[in-house]
């Protein structure tokens, strides 16, 4: 089995469990993988069967633990907050704009600032929530651009798509860095 395959599966497992438990479970899988390598069983098949049957159970356990639910609620609430901030900023700055270019720039900057701030807040509650928020920002931007009438310039659409999730992650990273400094 390739190292990248193992890394991806371990990344998935680590998202579903507390760190100490995930470490032990991944260690167990690696230890048994070595044992299985000496038998006639298809190692890759065994590994993927284990992973495929473990993920739903661990996802359910994670939901029962509440971690998953808290992350989802935090991410959705942060997303709603970001949309509200964008609306407020745009309505405040709208009268100052004279050209459509200036309007697009203000739209873009207010969007980036709002998602960065909300990424910061979401990460300070739960890091997983910030990652989910970045995904939400990307997915909803994709959906909006797909349904747009096509009047916005390409640079603007591309910037929204790239800078939105990046700003969310940057906000989350800043929150993590400040927390480490405080510790």
């Amino acid at each position: 089995m390739s190292l990248s395959t193992l890394a991806v599966s371990q990344w998935i497992l680590a998202r579903l469990m507390p760190p100490a438990q995930a470490e032990a479970l991944i260690g167990d899988l690696l230890e048994e993988l070595r044992l299985q390598a000496g038998s006639h069983v298809s190692v890759a098949g065994w590994y993927w069967r284990q992973l495929a049957s473990s993920v739903p159970v661990l996802l359910w356990a994670s939901m029962r633990r509440g971690a998953w639910l808290v992350s989802v609620v935090t991410a959705v609430a942060s997303y709603i907050a970001a949309v509200l901030i964008v609306l407020v900023l745009q309505s405040a700055l709208w009268p100052m704009t004279t050209s459509s270019f200036a309007h697009d720039v203000i739209m873009l900057l207010s969007f980036v600032a709002a998602v960065a701030a909300c990424g910061y807040v979401a990460a300070s509650i739960r890091l997983g929530a910030a990652r989910l928020l970045a995904f939400l920002v990307f997915a909803t931007t994709c959906a909006m651009l797909a349904n747009s009438t096509g009047r916005a310039p390409l640079w603007y659409e591309g910037s929204l798509l790239v800078l939105g999730p990046l700003a969310t992650i940057a906000g989350a990273a800043l929150s993590g860095r400040l927390r480490r400094v405080r510790l």
Partner: protein
């Protein structure tokens, strides 16, 4: 005909997978950790079980205070990751006893019917 009913606290009866996992932990003793528990269950029951299901069950049992865990030393064959050992607590022994007794009482006298089926 009169019955003498001894009331058991609610929640004391374990589910079938919980019982199987606890019995595996008991059998393995000091060597009880995720991988050995999973293999023990597969070998003894012939039932394929995922490592995720073992961990989810052990987590549930630990939350109920029936088992406890401690971290062992990291080893090379585990990619430098530590084992998480499990052991049964007194409350776990009581819960397992209660569950096994309940099953025994329920199945008492039914062996002939089973054989006929």
């Amino acid at each position: 005909m009169s019955y003498s009913v001894k009331q058991m606290p609610r929640g004391d009866l374990l589910g079938s997978l919980e019982q199987i996992v606890m019995l595996a932990v008991m059998r393995l003793g000091a060597d009880a950790y995720g991988m050995t528990v999973r293999r023990e269950i597969e070998e003894r029951t012939g039932r394929e079980i995922s490592i995720g299901a073992v961990y989810a069950t052990l987590e549930r049992l630990e939350a109920k205070g029936y088992v406890s865990s401690f971290t062992g030393e990291p080893t090379a064959e585990r990619g430098g990751r530590a084992k998480r050992h499990f052991e049964i607590e007194a409350a776990g022994h009581r819960a397992l006893n209660a569950s096994q007794n309940a099953l025994k009482n329920m199945s008492e006298g039914l062996s002939r019917r089973w054989k006929r089926a």
